[in-house]
Subunit: 693 residues, 2 copies
């Protein structure tokens, strides 16, 4: 490209990024070369001139954050991490792109590769995470910075494509970002007019710039990064200068830039170029030894060494001129920052969890007990920040004396997410990813269907988010089946690395919150009732933290009833009826299946011996309960209905009478049939099960 306006070295760097990215995809014969080749100029500018980072200390708390929202373009990011000296992105790693066990997986994984902030790939997540990341920076800056010492002072840069902007989640997050005026969020939109199906004219003809203006963003367009970077340099400078609005820069690029036969087509999006096309492409770039792969000239290496060195210097300068001085003048604040980013807890974190005394304390809905836990924990844990998707009065998530996090009050810790569940969860992931936060967020349990995509990313990313999901059963009543969860518990229980807690009383709620906070690498869903429950005799926080325990125990149980949450109150009465009828019955409260399955086989067998007829009772899908019980009372393959909560519980058979009658029938059944099925979780079996992979 003789007409390139920048230096030849600059162009060589950019073409090298393109070539090595394409080499990676070709070597793996799998992946996405088009976006890396199109976005190479943007990446060059960010890592060479714009961003402040440290390859030696990838977790430097004041680094600029970079989010690759179009995660399929990750070959580009791995190349940049390699050129700037990150340990997990050596040439040998680039050659292992997309191979099992490599540090260069097919989509970015924050827990695998140093320099990756969040797991992206599912479109729209990254840009929404970035909103949370920028919120985190603004909150911590407002909380800790002094006029002289800016401990937190970084930008958040996002690279995203058409796909990310089509996803509703990005609309939700972007609208909120504009509302909050996140001046340090800068989105670079890879405006290449191509999607998998073909040209964007097939389905995406909205005016993106006008749309972002409607969100109150600072909007710019750059029409050419092929022949030079000056326009983009200026646009990024303008974006940095605009401190009261998030910025989006629509950058016209050509997907697969330089590929003689595939540039500008969807054919280059998701498949290797092919050896010949790759060779011709690299020849077109005018790079040395085009027939060889992974070629990086000394000049290019030197250029990025300089950039990398500049990064290390900025860290050193910050350490000496800012952080050390801050630690000297405000040692306690500095220790708090250190503690928060280390993910450690204050020793007294759980001291104020409310104590519930039967007969003395008032019976309440478990959502109110949840509120009590939030009020007890938030003052102890400044890292707890959160809010609700416009259901604050129903979710009971506003802490005593809480302050809204708003444009004018970034030190506030209560987030008004609006009716934006999917973005709420993704923003919580972003806050966690920034570091120093334990976010909680809330909506009705049934609306997890609106944010399952982001909840899954929490679990995969090992982000210990607290999801406070209230109105957790048909008991919520009149709002009817659209609002009544049925399958949601099992949907969460079947997801890896996430805990579903469904407490039956205040002690169990304490256990749920303590477990959720202690499990910093596992998100937890806290299912809360809208209706009043009664203090459960025999419950303690310690017992509940085992996931399941025997709440009512007798000498030689002829029957075991397992239940969770609000339905436990019916089972308590059922046990009384059964006992009166001469059937010795244990009641097992199981607030968290996931945690119970982590206990020793001995403990599991002590609660569920497996040779005692066992009946589970939960107003939800029975799927999943066969693992623990011989028979189930549940909402098997049916939705709820609109009516008064108590009437619904009667109507669907969640009554002490029905439970005790079915319990009797189960005992009778085995008296007749003998051969009591060994339960799935008797020790040997679980052990055996564990061996199966």
């Amino acid at each position: 490209m003789t007409d390139y306006k920048g230096s030849t070295l600059e162009l060589e760097c950019i073409n090298t990024i393109r070539a090595v990215s394409a080499d990676m995809v070709q070597t793996a014969n799998s992946g996405h070369p088009g976006a890396p080749m199109g976005c190479a100029p943007i990446a060059y500018l960010l890592w060479n001139e714009i961003m402040k980072y440290s390859a030696q200390s990838p977790k430097w708390i004041n680094r600029d954050r970079f989010v690759l929202s179009n995660g399929h373009a990750c070959a580009l990011q791995y190349v940049m991490l390699h050129l700037t000296g990150y340990a997990d992105s050596k040439i040998s790693d680039l050659k292992q792109f997309r191979q099992l066990g490599s540090t260069t997986p097919g989509h970015p994984e924050s827990f695998v590769t140093a320099g990756i902030e969040v797991c992206t790939g599912p479109l729209g997540q990254g840009i929404s995470n970035a909103v949370g990341i920028a919120m985190g920076e603004s909150h911590l800056a407002a909380t800790y910075n002094t006029p002289e010492l800016k401990v937190f002072d970084n930008f958040t840069y996002v690279l995203c494509g058409d796909g990310c902007l089509q996803e509703g989640i990005s609309s939700e997050a972007s609208s909120l970002a504009g509302h909050l005026g996140l001046g340090k969020l800068i989105v670079l939109y890879d405006d290449n007019n191509i999607t998998i199906d073909g040209d964007t004219t097939l389905s995406f003809t909205e005016d993106v710039q006008k749309r972002y203006a409607s969100y109150n963003w600072h909007v710019q367009a750059v029409t050419d990064v092929v022949t030079g970077l000056d326009d983009l340099r200026t646009a990024i400078a303008n974006a940095q200068a605009c401190t009261d609005k998030p910025s989006i820069i629509a950058v016209k690029t050509v997907i697969g830039q330089g590929s003689p036969h595939k540039a500008g087509t969807s054919g280059v999006h998701g498949a290797a170029l092919g050896e010949q096309e790759l060779l011709d492409t690299k020849k077109g770039y005018g790079l040395p030894n085009p027939e060889l792969k992974f070629q990086i000239s000394d000049a290019v290496v030197k250029q990025f060494n300089t950039a990398s060195k500049k990064g290390e210097d900025s860290l050193t300068k910050w350490q000496i001129n800012t952080m050390d001085k801050f630690s000297a003048s405000l040692p306690e604040k500095a220790q708090e920052i250190q503690r928060r980013f280390a993910g450690e807890l204050p020793t007294n974190a759980f001291d104020d969890l409310p104590v519930f005394t039967i007969g003395e304390t008032k019976d309440l809905a478990t959502r109110k007990f949840s509120e009590g836990c939030i009020n007890a924990l938030v003052p102890k844990l400044p890292e707890m920040i959160g809010g609700s998707a416009d259901l604050t009065p129903s979710n009971c998530t506003f802490p005593k004396g809480g302050v809204d996090y708003q444009k004018g009050t970034p030190h506030g810790k209560y987030i008004r997410f609006g009716v934006r569940e999917h973005a709420m969860a993704a923003i919580s992931n972003g806050l966690y990813a920034y570091g120093g936060f334990r976010p909680y967020c809330a909506t009705f349990m049934t609306f997890i269907g609106y944010c399952m995509g982001s909840v899954r990313v929490s679990a995969l990313s090992r982000f210990g988010i607290l999801y406070v999901f209230t109105h957790d059963s048909i008991g919520l009543g009149e709002d009817g089946p659209t609002h009544q969860p049925i399958e949601q518990f099992e949907q969460i229980r079947s997801m890896p690395n996430i805990h579903l807690w469904r407490p039956a009383d205040s002690n169990e709620m304490n256990a749920a919150y303590e477990s959720a906070i202690r499990n910093k690498f596992t998100p937890s869903v806290l299912a809360c009732s809208r209706q009043t429950v009664y203090g459960l005799f025999g419950s303690t926080k310690e017992k509940a933290m085992m996931g399941a325990y025997t709440a009512i125990e007798c000498e030689k149980p002829a029957l075991i009833i397992i239940s969770t949450g609000e339905e436990v109150k019916f089972c308590v009465k059922a046990v009384a009826l059964l006992t009166a009828a001469g059937i010795a019955t244990n009641l097992v409260s199981m607030p968290c299946q996931d945690v119970f399955l982590q206990q020793s086989e001995e403990y599991q067998a002590s609660v569920l011996p497996g040779n005692v007829p066992t009946l589970s009772v939960e107003a939800s899908a029975v799927a999943g309960w066969h693992r623990f019980s011989h028979a189930q009372i549940g909402m098997d393959n049916r939705f709820g209905a609109s009516g008064k909560g108590p009437q619904l519980y009667d109507h669907f058979g969640f009554t002490p009478d029905n439970i005790s009658n079915k319990g009797k029938a189960l005992v009778e059944f085995y008296k007749k049939n003998g051969n009591i099925p060994a339960l799935r979780n008797v020790p040997i079996f679980e052990q055996f099960g564990k061996a199966l992979h």
Copy 2:
């Protein structure tokens, strides 16, 4: 309100709508009075002057469609249905608002109440359904109308609130609606500045009108419907006149209009006014007998009788002047329309499903077999319309000779949804709701997390949508854990009224499609592999339609292996190894748990006798499999990884060797332990289970 510019009768009608809506909520002491009171003028205008409908024939195919996207305002819609004479909304029904078994549930349910088009309540669904409804009208008009005879010629009106517009799903659907230029879609935005948390300034300060302009919508604002309706009349007329763009009219309203102490506050959103406040409100309206509830004056009754009569006349006119003439001139087309709207199938619907012959037909990925079914069914079933969320080449959903449904080609049947999964599912619901359609739509299985909210509405609404979800296991390989489903199968299996099909070969795929099409009131998810499977000896469409069947059967099985989809191919080899080792083994292929559970206990027992050691093998969460098997090989509480598909299957233990070894171990285990656990689904047990509710 002496300054009311319209007639006093008009104002009395509007205030009566407000009063009766508030009476309903007060009587139920549950519900949402604010929106009905604020939106009463809009509703009055729509039902009294604008809309064409028939209370006597609520399903008239050319009726104008009305969607209450803010479903919590349904008291308003029930009042309108009552005033205009719909059978399910008698005064006695209004008095049963939100009571168990009533025809006036807490949120609109299309299968309960005549005159309700779709189930709304989960915000954003309704407006997105409406996009599908408007698409349906434009497609059928383009398909059947003649220059003289407009069989299909209706508008789709939507009432929605701030909440609907904050949800990402509405952004997705609205962007697509603008792209498609749906001129007969008219959205009335209840712009009342109030959300549950309080004023919209807390979280929602975007410029909605500018945003909709960016989607290429026709945008208008009406600042006053309190003192008169002329501005709204004009705006709706303009919207109707704009035929190449969807219209949105932002109508300034006052939530709880007329409530002396609560109007304009979030306090009137979701709770009854209280007797005194209700009384004072009605006094303010100047209505007779304010102390009495459900008062409708003769003048108001008469006014709506006239409107209702006008509706019946328009139906009669259409029948005589259009439909009868159309039937006379194009009897076959008329019959096709009749058949489609009756949900009947042509007798030869399934004749062309591809026959697979082992050794002759080519082994393919099941997504290719799915494509074969689409190609066989679409020509036979004009009601099949569908597309993909920008994954057409991967989902293999574009039918041979298909034509895109676009602004210029509304007769086309292939929809380019863009990267908009949530709207895609909601639009499919809307197409189904319009009538005469059996929509199918597609994305990767893992991205069901992006549209679970709408998929649930399909199941609840009894809409037989076909969800074609490909890339259904770790076998997809290099894209890694963000793209590899683990919990998704169980998430679907635990949802009421939806079938998950995971075919292992071509015959099973035929069964999946035939079952999905025949179950018109149950949505089906068709899980398809990216990788090649091998024809399964012993498989037939008929056997597969039982949900599970014995594919490899021996005299006296010592072991039963159950598997699904691609993993069946490993199990076939494992069975060979086991047989060679002297362990007689049956292989059960279970493409659909849900359908198998509907079979007779005799059939279930014939496939899974329950007293034979049974091992299930599926590369997904093991949760749910305990119902069918004694031990499970699965992805228990773990995500996948990025790597070559076959390597991943090896790595996670899905190999013939591991399966046969675990099978041996299971047999050994029971030899030692005796007491083979009776499975959950042995007849007596299932029967017993069925009794449990």
